[in-house]
Symmetry: C2
Subunit: 231 residues, 2 copies
């Protein structure tokens, strides 16, 4: 199942805390996107995670849980992505929470369905940055060094550039992609149109489209076109 990672070019990210009508969910799940990822930086609970999973399960699209809190880990997803926030200022967000989760559930983990993501959070104003105390005052060389750390030293399967809420520096995203040796590059943040989706899809391997789903569903659905351009 780890190989599935390599196929995903476009992923919709759904926040269990936010409302989405059945009709909107159906259109997302039948949009031609490669996968739906469930996750969020706040307000994610076991109940709202399982509820959203059961609604997505009416459709055939692969469903990924991005594990952001121990309490919200639910069985039944096709795949689990575990973020390690490499530029967090506290060790808990790099490996601490993970170690405690493994202490409780280590023997139960579906390792074949699980991969770690090396997160680099780049928008200091985002909830994710505030929560993790991420050091976002980074120059390009800092970001490239984090990417090398994730790709070559830690050999993580995914490097995730997270600009959440703002559209990132595509030149930098391209530079990061060019230094990666084996990891896949995920990009998320500010993709709210087909044009931005196309630019991000040129720079990264996989693009993640989130907020715009809740703000402008038609625009969100248009972003799937970027995938067709790449295929």
């Amino acid at each position: 199942m780890q190989e599935a990672l390599l196929e995903w070019k476009h992923i919709f990210k759904l926040d269990p805390e936010r409302e989405l009508s059945d009709e909107a969910l159906e259109r997302i799940c039948q949009s031609g996107s490669d996968a739906v990822m469930v996750g969020g930086s706040s307000g994610v609970t076991y109940d709202n995670t399982v509820d959203l999973l059961s609604r997505i399960r009416c459709f055939s699209i692969p469903c990924i849980l991005e594990v952001s809190s121990r309490e919200a880990v639910a069985p039944g997803f096709d795949f689990y992505l575990v973020p390690l926030v490499l530029n967090a200022s506290e060790v808990d967000w790099v490996v601490g929470h993970h170690q405690r989760a493994l202490k409780d559930y280590g023997q139960l983990m579906p390792w074949d369905l699980l991969a770690a993501e090396g997160y680099i959070i780049l928008n200091g104003a985002s909830t994710a940055a505030q929560l993790t105390g991420s050091r976002t005052e980074l120059d390009a060389k800092d970001v490239l060094a984090y990417a090398l750390l994730a790709d070559r030293l830690l050999r993580l399967p995914v490097v995730y550039l997270e600009y959440s809420g703002t559209f990132g520096d595509m030149e930098l995203v391209t530079r990061v992609k060019n230094v990666l040796h084996q990891a896949r590059l995920f990009y998320g943040g500010g993709i709210d149109s087909a044009a931005k989706a196309a630019r991000a899809a040129q720079a990264a391997d996989t693009i993640i489209v989130g907020n715009v789903i809740y703000e402008d569903l038609e625009q969100a659905l248009q972003t799937v076109k970027a995938k067709a351009l790449e295929d």
Copy 2:
């Protein structure tokens, strides 16, 4: 060269800050040990590292640098091991120093000659624990969770149980070995006799013998026998 890792059963660890006569060094290098590792928790400089390397180079034994500070990184070693202290309380010792080193030298790294070690430091009184602020008040489940983190989530090639200065809990070392899926288990700490070497070699994949070299060279040389027992 990464495969060499799998062959090493016994390694002598030499501290560049400590004095070792030419005769003692010759006996260490011709002892039948698999490799010599250069490293230490304090007082390691570029000059004393290069000086020790050049003296070891008179012999054919593989020579590894365990990178403990950016300043002491020197070219010319056969292999480089980079410790990530998983139970450190500050992010710098987990990934921070590493990111800064990659910022400076990322494009120059001999990746094929380099591997990361997931360190778990277990003797709270040791220099390494003090330096890194390691959380050493760990129960067996904590240690096993760190091992899973290193082996399965981070997919590091080496898990290193470091009891430096004291002989560890061999039952726990064995339990750690039993949960590892792909990583090799290094054990270091308190091996000061052939008997302890044999016990540690039964529990771990690779044993590291350090301090006793400087305290009782004859006993240190006896520890190489543990390797013969395993072969």
